[in-house]
C-alpha cells in the first residue's frame, strides 16, 4: 500500500518541483504589477528582459480590482510583484497573495516590490475609525498621479530588477536613465503647459488627485463621495453644489470607474465643466502609457479651465 502510494506520488512531486523551479537563465523576469502604470514603468526599465502582467487593465477602481482565480497561477509563477503600497491594494492583493502560494512575492520578501518607500504621504489620517470612511491608515496612496513622485517608483523598480538579474544591471540603468530623462523633459513641458491651472479648483469623485493638485498648483475643493468609499448623500451633494457656486469652482472630475449621473448633475447645477480623467494608463482610450496618460490629463484640464472674460 505504502509503496503503491509512493509510486503514485513520486512523479507528481517531481513534476511539481520541475514546474515550480526557477526559470532558466536568460528567460525574461516574470513580473506582476498590480496597476497598469507600474506595468508601463516596469517595461520601460526592464525592456526585453522582463515579461510583465498587470492585474488591472486600467479601467478598474484601484481599490476594486476583481480577485479573479485566473490571477492565481500567474502570481504563483511571478518572480517579482510590483505594487503601489500605502494600502492602495488592500481590497484584493492580500487574498490573491495568500491564494498564490508563492513565498517569493509575499510581504517582506525580496520579490515584494513596494514602490512607496521614500514617498511622504499626503492626508495621513488622524483616525482610522470607520466613521471617516474607508481611509488608508498610511496616507493617500495615489502618488503616481504626480509625475515627479513617479520617479521614486521607477527607482524601486530598477533596484528590484537589478537585484533579480544583476547581469543586466547596466541595461536596466541605461533604460532607467533614458526613461527618467524623457519623463523629466515631459514634466517641464507639463509644468509650462499647466501654468493656467494654478489656483484653479476642482471637485473629483474620489480623493485621488491630491498629489497631482499639489504638483500643478490646483486646488482640490472636495470630493463627491461623502467619505472615502461612502456614496454621497443628497445633503452632501447639495453642499458641494452650494460651495462650488460660492467659490466659482469650474471643474468636476469624474474618474471612469464611477457612474456619471451625480458628477453630471453637479456640473449642470454649478455650470462647471465635467471632465473624465483616467487614474491609470488605459483608463480612457489613447492613454496606454504613463506619459500618454499624464499628457491626456494635463491637456484635458487645461482645455477645461475657464477662459478669461
Amino acid at each position: 500500500m505504502k509503496s503503491k502510494l509512493m509510486r503514485l506520488l513520486t512523479p507528481v512531486m517531481l513534476a511539481a518541483t520541475a514546474c515550480a523551479a526557477s526559470p532558466a537563465q536568460g528567460a525574461p523576469i516574470r513580473v506582476v504589477t498590480t496597476l497598469t502604470d507600474l506595468a508601463d514603468l516596469t517595461r520601460a526599465v526592464g525592456g526585453k528582459e522582463v515579461q510583465v502582467f498587470s492585474l488591472a487593465t486600467g479601467v478598474e477602481d484601484t481599490h476594486g480590482v476583481p480577485m479573479k482565480p485566473s490571477f492565481v497561477p500567474i502570481l504563483n509563477r511571478a518572480e517579482l510583484l510590483v505594487l503601489v503600497g500605502l494600502g492602495c491594494e488592500h481590497a484584493f492583493l492580500p487574498a490573491l497573495l495568500e491564494a498564490s502560494k508563492n513565498p517569493r512575492i509575499q510581504s517582506g520578501q525580496p520579490g515584494y516590490v513596494d514602490c512607496s518607500p521614500g514617498i511622504v504621504p499626503l492626508a495621513v489620517p488622524k483616525s482610522t475609525d470607520h466613521s471617516e470612511g474607508d481611509v488608508h491608515p498610511s496616507g493617500n496612496p495615489h502618488y503616481l498621479l504626480d509625475p515627479v513622485l513617479a520617479k521614486t517608483a521607477v527607482e524601486h523598480i530598477y533596484e528590484a530588477l537589478a537585484a533579480q538579474a544583476p547581469e543586466h544591471t547596466a541595461e536596466f540603468r541605461q533604460n532607467r536613465d533614458a526613461y527618467l530623462a524623457k519623463l523629466e523633459a515631459k514634466v517641464a513641458e507639463w509644468q509650462q503647459l499647466a501654468k493656467p491651472l494654478k489656483g484653479v479648483g476642482f471637485v473629483s469623485y474620489h480623493e485621488e488627485w491630491g498629489y497631482f493638485a499639489e504638483r500643478f498648483g490646483m486646488k482640490v475643493f472636495g470630493t463627491i463621495e461623502l467619505k472615502p468609499g461612502i456614496d454621497p448623500t443628497p445633503r452632501h451633494i447639495e453642499q458641494i453644489i452650494l460651495g462650488m457656486k460660492a467659490e466659482h469652482v469650474p471643474i468636476v472630475v469624474r474618474e471612469p470607474q464611477f457612474p456619471e449621473k451625480v458628477p453630471a448633475y453637479i456640473a449642470r447645477q454649478t455650470g462647471a465643466k465635467l471632465v473624465k480623467l483616467p487614474i491609470m494608463p488605459g483608463g480612457v482610450p489613447h492613454t496606454e502609457t504613463y506619459i500618454a496618460m499624464m499628457d491626456y490629463i494635463i491637456h484635458t484640464l487645461v482645455a477645461a479651465q475657464p477662459k478669461p472674460g
Binding site: A20, P66, P103, D231
Partner: protein, 489 residues
Amino acid sequence: MKFTRLIGWSSTLCLGAILAQAQETNEVEKLNQQLKQIRETFEKQQRELKESFERMFREQQAQIEALKRQLASATNAAAGLAQTNQAAAADQLKELNQKVDQVVEAQKKVRPSEFNPSIGFVGETVLAYRSKGSEATGSERRGGFDAFQRSMELNIAASVDPFAKGYAVINATADSATGEATLGIEEAALQTTSLPWNLELKAGRFFGEFGRLAYIHDHELPFVNRPLVLDRYIGGESKTDGLQLNWLPPIAHYTSLTLGLGDQFGDNPNNPGTYRPFSELNFFGRASTYFDLTPDWQLEAGMSGLWNPRTQDRAGVQVQPNGSTLTERERRLAGLDLKVSYVPLRNNQFRSLVWGTELLFSDNRYLFDPDGSLAPGNPTAHPGWPGLSGDEFMGGVGALGLYSYVTYKWHRQWSAGFLFDWVQNAQNHNDETSAYSPYLTWAISHWNQLRLQYTHTDHNAVSGLRPDDAIYLQWAWIIGSHAHGWQQR
C-alpha cells in the same frame, strides 16, 4: 699798420663781439621768451592738468558717493530679500515638519498595539415573522415574531511566524429556546504560508472546503438563511476538527485541489464514544476550476465529496413519522457547484450579476429499525446495543437537494436577488421541501448592511409539515479590522 690792423681787428673783434653779444642778447631774449613761453605753457598745462585732475577727482568722488549710496540701498534690499527668503524657507520647513510629524504620529499610533493581532467584530441581528409555529414548520425557532442575535462574532488573525498564520472565530448565538447567548469556537486554526510545491495545510477547527457556500459564515451569505440542502445534508456550516491540505497544481490554468479529514463535518458531533478508529473520521475534498469567459464574465465550477465510513450515530436515532427509526451508520455526500458572474471591470463596485447553483446527492447508509425499538438518544452501536429487537437491517437512502440563486447589483449600495431551494429528506427521499426567497440588500457602507427577505416554504404531505411564509430583516455590521478573504471573491 700793425696798430691799425690791431685796432681794426680789435674793432672787428669788438664789433663782432658786440654783434655777437647783440646776437647773444637776442638769442637770450629769444631763449628767455621761449623759456617764458615754455614756462607759461607749462604752467598753463599744469593748471589745466590740475584742473583736469581736480575735475576727475571730483567726478570720481561723486561716482564713489553715488556707488556708496547704491551699495547702501542694495544692502538694505538684500537684507530684506534674505529675510523674505528665510521666512519662505521657514514656512516650507514648518510645512515639511508638519508632514513628517503626521507620518511619525501615524506610526506612533500603531506602536502601543504593535503585537496585537487583527481584531474585528461582527454583529448580526435577525428580525423575523413566521406565519406558522415551529411545530408546523420544523424550524428550531418559534413562529410569529422573533428577534435574535444570530451572530456575535469575534475574528482574530495574525501571523504566527514566517511559516504560518493563525486565526480564530469566536461566536455567540442566541439560543432558540432561552434566548441566552451560547459562546462557541467556530474556527481556530493554523494555516501554513510557505510550504513547497504549492501546498497549504490547515489544522485545527475550521470550516472544511466543500461546495461554494458551506464554509461561508452566516452573515456573509448572499441571502438571510443558509440554503436548506446545506442545512440538512451538511448540518449548517462545514465545521470540522482536523486537517485540510490544498494544492495548487503548477499549471497555467487555475485549478485547486483540497483533501481533508476531521472528526466531524457540520454542526452535529460524530461518534462520541470512547475510541474513534481511523474509519470513523470524516474524509472530504473538493476540486475546482475557473474560466474567464470574457474580461467581464467569469465561470467557476467545482465538485466535492464527503465520506464517513462509520458514522455510528451522528444525529442519533431518528424517529420517522411512521414510528420506525433510522440511525446513520455511513455518511456519503457528493456535490457539484457552479457560479457564473458578470463583473464588469470598469464599474464592478456599482454593477454585477451572479448566478450560483449547487446540487448535492446524499447517499447515506442507515440502520433501519422498523418497530422503533431503538429509543432516541441511545449510545452508539456495539454488539448488545440496548433496544435491538432483531428486525433491524442496513440500507441506503439516496436523496437530492439543490439551491440556485441570482443576485443583481445595480448600485454600490443596492442589490436584489432570488433564491430557490429544493431538498429531499436525507432519510426519506419522498419527503420534499422547497422554498422561494426574493431578497433586497442595502449595503449602507462596506461594514453596515440591511437585508429584507421573504420566504415561502412548501412541504409535501409526507413530511407532515405545513407551508409557511416568513419575512426576515437582517442587519449585519462590522467593527475593527476586516480582511477581504479569498472566499469572499
